[in-house]
Symmetry: C2
Subunit: 194 residues, 2 copies
């Protein structure tokens, strides 16, 4: 097990309905030392790629994205969720349908912060159905920029998101892939990764 | 001028209606080196206080809060905005009325992440009317915890928020206090601080 898998086993809570609560260290209360370790691990995995910008989506991706951006020495941009399209100026927009919440949100990034020259590493804390990530990919491509890769802290391997994104040919690295969970015993099975 | 005031003069954009856009470095695209400098400055100003937790509110406060939390070596917690009260478990709630958007939001923090023993440094990127900060103070006090202080990157000194919070007796530090702005010339006047 790597450092993140160990932390999930130690402090994650498995709830009914395949819910994995990691809010004591990853997405409500945050362990900044862990964020930095995640940042360094993504740097290790993507440092051979050209990366000019880190992109994430509000809110819980921001902490990880800051740590990754520090390692690469590049700016971080976070996409905003918006019910309405921001009328104040030029933005890239992706309409994202949430599988979980059964609603639609616009995800927006100002055109000033992504250009055709950018090589963008997309990062986020969670990947399940991949709706948010698909929106971020769409925004990068609207800008004519290049997706350098995608870095995810925790992927729910039994949901469709990771498979879709890998099938599309993107380089996706998930630090922990949960293949199954059991709320009765609290156990979590991780996928073996090389 | 300090480093943040200099950056505002260099990269901030003054718009009609007393709007100061700092989205190229502070709250949409983020300069992580600047976040770290802000974190170190807050550490310098509050290091004589007991601080066990950093609290902010999603989304743009998160990056600054991470940098501050790293300096203090304590966890960071971000409050979530929610239209409805989260029914999943015990949360501290503050109903916050937005002066700007003329709507109400609940701000919530899980009871697991704030206790009566905590000494909480509240940080955020902006302070104008102070609605969000008042909600965060209310949450810390609901927990029986102590507000160690409040650290703000940019305060709009011509709006009421800073005065209210100082009048209430809290130790509030704003790295840049904007006393006036002129959209025609693009100029920004900062308050002299010792």
């Amino acid at each position: 097990m790597n450092f993140l898998e160990e932390r999930i086993v130690k402090d994650g809570i498995v709830k009914e309905g395949n819910v994995l609560k990691v809010d004591s260290f990853l997405n409500h209360q945050m362990d900044v030392a862990l964020m930095d370790q995640i940042g360094e691990e993504f740097y290790k995995r993507f440092k051979n790629k050209k990366v000019t910008k880190i992109l994430t989506i509000e809110a819980s991706g921001i902490a990880i994205a800051c740590s990754v951006a520090r390692c690469f020495g590049v700016p971080m941009v976070f996409a905003k969720k918006s019910k309405s399209v921001n009328i104040d100026g030029d933005v890239f927009v992706a309409e994202v349908e949430s599988f979980t919440h059964k609603n639609k949100n616009n995800v927006i990034v100002s055109k000033r912060f992504l250009s055709a020259d950018d090589h963008v590493l997309i990062v986020d804390d969670f990947l399940a159905n991949g709706c948010a990530l698909q929106g971020l990919i769409s925004i990068v491509e609207s800008a004519g920029a290049t997706v350098a890769g995608l870095g995810i802290a925790i992927e729910k391997g039994f949901q469709i998101g990771g498979r879709v994104i890998r099938n599309l040919g993107y380089h996706l690295e998930s630090l922990a892939i949960v293949d199954s969970m059991d709320a009765a015993t609290g156990s979590v099975e991780f996928r073996e990764q090389k």
